[in-house]
């Protein structure tokens, strides 16, 4: 499974961590390949005709036939898929139907903007979620825990755009602290950029914070129920020391998993938040071209989003493999 260059004797003595990680990478690559088939089939083989969908129901049969020819739709599906995949593997994502521009060029700048937004949201949300999770565990079933649980239950029940507009209304209209639209361009300094994205970052933080904090709390509580924690409590350690010395090292793996799962979820949250704040990222680009029925752009964006999502999940697996002491020191 792990590449043909490796002899059988070597793979037997391969460190289990390397083995597990290469397994995860292989599965991830296979998954991404399967996703590319799914996206292609989803857009090109569903009952609707792509050319008809682009031109609308009023289009003449001649116009539809011309567009089919132009898009190469008369070729067999398999050869169209293979040439699409071949292009992607060489960094060619095709050209947009509506703007006739190269998709890879259009995406690269926007992908940077999206990752910039998601990065700052993650930098704020992760320590905050873990901190709040620890507080909730420390005061389990007392008022700080109940308060945090109540607030997070409320934010879990809201879609991203709802949080976005409520925050916009409060902070830009009522308190006039920020600008309601996040126009970002290349010439801005980092400080200006950060000020511009403050509001969307706040919304993204709220979107992932609740899930992340609840799952962190559950993961740590799970560790707290084990026998060595009971021993530590019985020998008279302070509650804080029990958490930092015994619970946290053992909770790292499940918490990392929780954090990465939610970072993957940021990918979805970012689509809606970008539309709310008219932010020039991948999400806005995707949504715009779905309504224009620009299929090549939608395929490319779908694949990029799926790749990021699967990539984050693989990183989560790799980190939890590395964080597991039983796997690090075999025998």
């Amino acid at each position: 499974m792990q590449g043909g260059h490796m002899s059988h004797a070597e793979s037997v003595f391969m460190h289990p961590v390397v083995l597990l990680i290469s397994q995860r990478l292989t599965i991830g690559m296979l998954l991404l390949f399967a996703v590319s088939i799914l996206i292609f089939v989803g857009t090109e083989m569903l009952p609707g005709d792509v050319a008809q969908a682009i031109l609308g129901q009023a289009a003449t049969p001649q116009a539809v036939a011309n567009l089919r020819l132009e898009m190469g739709l008369n070729e067999p599906a398999l050869s169209r898929y293979l040439s699409w995949l071949w292009g992607i593997l060489h960094g060619d994502l095709g050209t947009s139907l509506t703007t006739q521009k190269d998709i890879a060029t259009a995406i690269s700048g926007r992908l940077y903007n999206t990752l910039f937004l998601a990065f700052w949201a993650a930098i704020i949300a992760v320590p905050l979620a873990i901190g709040l999770g620890l507080i909730a565990v420390r005061y389990c079933d007392r008022w700080p825990d109940k308060l945090i649980s109540g607030v997070t239950l409320a934010t879990i029940s809201l879609p991203e755009f709802v949080i976005g507009y409520i925050l916009t209304y409060l902070l830009t209209v009522k308190l006039q602290l920020f600008s309601p639209v996040s126009l970002m361009f290349d010439g801005m300094s980092l400080a200006q950029k950060l000020n511009t994205i403050a509001l969307p970052v706040m919304v993204l933080v709220m979107v992932v914070l609740a899930h992340m904090m609840r799952m962190t709390r559950a993961a740590i509580l799970n560790v707290m129920e084990s026998a060595y924690i009971e021993t530590a409590v019985l020998k008279g350690m302070s509650p804080l020391a029990v958490i930092t010395k015994h619970a946290v090292p053992n909770a790292i793996a499940p918490v990392v998993n929780v954090v990465m799962l939610n970072l993957a979820y940021l990918v979805v949250g970012v689509v809606v938040v970008e539309v709310v704040f008219v932010y020039p990222g991948m999400g806005q680009y995707l949504v715009d071209h779905v309504s224009k029925r620009d299929v090549p752009v939608v395929q490319a964006c779908g694949l990029v989003f799926a790749a990021v999502y699967i990539g984050v999940n693989i990183i989560a697996d790799v980190i939890s493999i590395l964080a597991n002491p039983k796997l690090r020191h075999p025998k």
Binding site: L31, A34, V35, L38, I39, G42, T43, E44, L46, P47, G48, V50, A53, L153, A154, I156, S157, L158, P159, E160, F161, V162, Y165, I166, T168, Y169, T172, V173, P180, H211, A264, Y265, V267, V268, V271, V272, V275, V276, L286, V287, H289, V290, S291, R293, D294, V295, V298, Q299, G302, F305, A306, Y309, I310, N313
Partner: protein, 272 residues
């Protein structure tokens, strides 16, 4: 059965009120759905309780009709999701073998992409009609119901009474509907509320992005989209549907939490 708490009762009452408002929308709405009755964004008055929207339609009437669309589409999508997900999940657990393998790996594949992204990809080539929206949302969500149903059914298929039914020669259909379904039902019902909220949030998000329910028909996500430009001038019309979505989601959540706690052994993800 545990007695419902105060919070659960509040959740039940508010949820029922929303459903009643959806059923009796025609009676309750003071004006028509697409009827232009005043100027754009008139403030709240005795004539228009919530004011008017971006092109002068009565906001309260649109909210009531919008609630009907949102609840109806979400309920229908949840029904599609549960019918497909549970029947396929139970069958996969009972039949096993390659049938189970193919379905389970396909579900893994679909769930490896965020549902919103996959929905956007599919909707780029499908006409945005209500039926298409319900089927796409329902089928995407059925992957989660499939996983839950399959996991529950795998536990049930090893029970003696299923073995007894097999030995006396009952077919797969009989076993799925007469042995598995009745025993898995309480767990599935607890999950129902969570899937319904997810469907409400999903259709609202799609409509907000302009890819869900199409104008002049209204749903809550669409009303936010129509009125969002007023927000920067301090016109709060766009906030009304967001509040409605939030209140409905929280009330159903309260009821679902109670149902979940009643079935103690349930381990179902609530999804993203």
């Amino acid at each position: 059965m545990t007695r419902p708490s105060f919070a659960t009762l509040v959740g039940m009452i508010i949820t029922s009120l929303f459903i009643l408002a959806a059923i009796f929308a025609n009676v309750l709405a003071p004006y028509g759905l697409a009827e232009i009755v005043g100027d754009a964004w008139e403030p709240s008055s005795s004539e228009f309780l919530l004011g008017t929207d971006s092109i002068g339609r009565d906001l309260l009437s649109r909210m009531i009709y919008g609630g009907r669309t949102t609840i109806l589409v979400a309920a229908a999508a949840t029904a599609v999701s549960f019918l497909t997900g549970s029947i396929l999940g139970f069958t996969a657990a009972v039949v096993g073998g390659w049938f189970d393998q193919i379905l389970s790996r396909f579900v893994d594949l679909v769930m490896s992409i965020p549902p919103l992204i996959l929905a956007l990809v599919i909707l780029s080539v499908m006409p945005t009609t209500i039926v298409v929206l319900i089927v796409v949302m329902g089928l995407l969500d059925s992957t989660r119901v499939f996983r839950l149903s399959r996991a529950v059914a795998v536990d049930i298929t090893v029970m003696d009474y299923v073995e007894a039914a097999r030995l006396r020669g009952e077919g797969t259909v009989w076993i799925v509907f007469r042995e598995i379904l009745p025993n898995a039902l309480s767990l599935l019902i607890a999950e129902l509320g969570l899937r319904f909220i997810f469907a409400v949030l999903f259709i609202s998000t799609l409509s907000f992005l302009g890819l869900g329910v199409q104008p002049p028909a209204a749903d809550w996500g669409g009303i936010v989209k129509e009125n969002k430009d007023g927000l920067v001038y301090g016109i709060s019309a766009a906030l009304m549907p967001t509040i409605a979505i939030a209140v409905l989601a929280i009330s159903v959540n309260l009821v679902a939490d109670w149902a979940l706690n009643r079935t103690s052994s349930l381990k179902g993800g609530r999804g993203a």
